[in-house]
């Protein structure tokens, strides 16, 4: 499914302009990380994708259909959104009910629903906690639970707000794998993150927001290239360690550990 934002602007009451004429096209199978300083409009952007917020000006289009003529419920069948704060999303008294809620609303029932719920919990590494009360889960598991609930909706577009906050190393590795496999299925992923190592390692495209505007938009090799560092730093961001080391060694743009290894192997002739 193609997601298209055409000159989308949004203002919060008594706040500054949160989005300012944002143009963005995301095609099926693309993985897009949205980065930027605190308060740059990242979460506001995600909330437009399923209609939780409506543009003050401009349009959000899903496969060419104008979102302004669609209800949130209908948009949510296309775009699943996991909130930044899991406690703002979780409402059910059982993990199985939390994860099954969206899928049930999408029409799944019985064995099929059970299978979807089990698969989603498996994908985030929460197998075996079906009957647990979400409040009895730790910080990391609650975050994973909200991601599972979105996966279970099987939407063509998956939007994740700060998916790695509160996660430990193994959960983070699982999320990286998950995002790549969603893309391999032709689904697209948009995620907001401050963790630029995670961003560089996981996403095919990076969008930098600054003051509600798109300041950079390109693959990690371009956005984390030394030439773009002044722009990143003007937004209070630091390029990932591999990119900094690669530049220091004169290897060009090496946003990931793998890129750094390959580039250095080539120059040192090992």
């Amino acid at each position: 499914m193609e997601l298209r934002l055409e000159s989308v602007s949004f203002d919060y009451p008594a706040g500054p302009r949160a989005l300012d004429a944002v143009d963005l096209v995301v095609r099926g199978g693309e993985t897009v990380a949205v980065i930027g300083a605190n308060g740059s409009g990242k979460t506001t952007l995600l909330r437009h994708l399923n209609g939780l917020l409506r543009p003050a000006a401009g349009r959000v289009l899903l496969d060419g259909a104008d979102g302004s003529s669609m209800t949130v419920a209908r948009m949510a069948m296309c775009v699943g959104l996991a909130f930044q704060d899991p406690d703002a999303q979780i409402f059910a008294a059982r993990v199985s009910e939390e994860v099954g809620f969206g899928a049930r609303n999408a029409g799944a029932s019985g064995r099929h629903l059970e299978a979807i719920v089990a698969q989603a919990l498996d994908d985030v590494g929460l197998r075996g906690s079906l009957d647990t009360h979400p409040g009895d889960l730790g910080t990391s598991a609650r975050k994973l639970l909200t991601i599972a609930a979105v996966l279970a909706m099987r939407t063509p577009i998956v939007a994740l707000d700060e998916p790695t906050v509160g996660l430990d190393a193994s959960a983070m590795a699982r999320i990286e794998t998950l995002i790549r496999s969603l893309a391999a299925e032709g689904r697209s992923v948009l995620a907001v993150s401050h963790d630029l190592r995670f961003v560089a390692e996981t996403f095919s495209r990076v969008v930098l927001l600054d003051g509600g505007r798109v300041a950079l938009d390109g693959p990690p090799e371009d956005v984390f290239d030394e030439a773009a560092w002044p722009r990143l730093r003007a937004s209070g961001l630091e390029p990932p360690p591999a990119a900094r080391l690669g530049a220091r060694l004169g290897l060009g743009s090496t946003p990931t550990d793998a890129a750094l290894l390959v580039a250095w192997q080539r120059t040192s002739g090992v």
Partner: protein, 276 residues
């Protein structure tokens, strides 16, 4: 009024601490002993379900006082058992931030200014003092520009800064911070960590709990590693963070060290010549 006494560093200390949540079948903390001296930053590291957040709740006095459950062992400040202290007395010495900033807003303040003033105002300080502390805390975290905004309508990162400013305005001797930079960009993270270093230099005892290793690299003199509700390792940040045993406990290898290790494993060891 706090008694003035001639003492060496004042220590917040938990000895033999075991804690069980209400209704839980097992202890979430088992025999944890930890000292938080004034004038330093202690890092607390652990994977999911390691007991990190629970330990913060215990040290901050919320568990069992507010949450319920059962704490065995002793929690003391300067040798005085604080478990029976009323919350208002404890909060003159120890403040706590929890993982999700939105959950910590007072929900009674219409503006960021009032939100930050909420703590010192509840200490019963004179109005002028409350205002001075509030403005200084806002300035320190560079969020004076948000003073008139509704705290409930800020971004997650901005809310995290507002919560921290509220704690700074309390001028506590001990800060227990669970993931204080989790929602912050790199520049803002640096400002917050710099502020914590300043506070430690001025005598505060700070505990920073993290699931990520990077924020602890430059600030912690001492790092405590938790796993399955127990303390697994204690030592200098350099020694603990460079220990490969961390990975086995589900803890992130610091990305800088990871990159160096991968290069070394590929036979591409770095020396200083390369970095000229």
């Amino acid at each position: 009024m706090r008694e003035r006494r001639c003492t060496a560093a004042v220590v917040l200390s938990l000895r033999g601490g075991s804690y069980r949540y209400p209704g839980a079948a097992l202890d979430s903390l088992q025999d944890v002993s930890l000292e938080l001296p004034e004038g330093s930053i202690t890092g607390l590291l652990g994977a999911a379900e390691s007991g990190l957040s629970t330990l913060c709740l215990v040290l901050g006095g919320l568990a069992p006082r507010v949450i319920g459950g059962e704490l065995r062992g002793t929690l003391s400040i300067d040798g005085q058992d604080v478990r029976e202290w009323p919350m208002h007395r404890l909060s003159e010495s120890v403040v706590l931030s929890v993982g999700q900033p939105a959950g910590q807003l007072s929900m009674v303040a219409a503006t960021v200014y009032e939100e930050v003033a909420f703590g010192p105002a509840n200490l019963g300080l004179p109005r002028g003092e409350v205002m001075a502390r509030t403005e200084q805390a806002l300035d320190r975290l560079a969020i004076t520009g948000l003073a008139g905004r509704d705290p409930r309508r800020l971004s997650g990162g901005q809310q995290q800064l507002v919560v921290l400013a509220g704690l700074l305005a309390m001028r506590p001797r001990h800060l227990i911070l669970d993931g204080p930079v989790s929602h912050l960009d790199a520049g803002t993270t640096e400002r917050v960590l710099g502020t914590l270093l300043d506070m430690a230099a001025a005598g505060a005892g700070v505990l920073v709990a993290e699931r990520r290793t990077t924020p602890l690299l430059g600030i912690s003199s001492n790092v405590v590693v938790m796993a399955a509700g127990r303390v697994r390792a204690v030592g200098s940040a350099e020694a603990v963070l460079a220990d490969p045993a961390l990975l086995a406990l589900g803890i992130e290898e610091p990305p800088v060290l990871r990159t160096r290790r991968l290069l070394a494993e590929a036979g591409l060891g770095l020396d200083h010549e390369d970095l000229r």
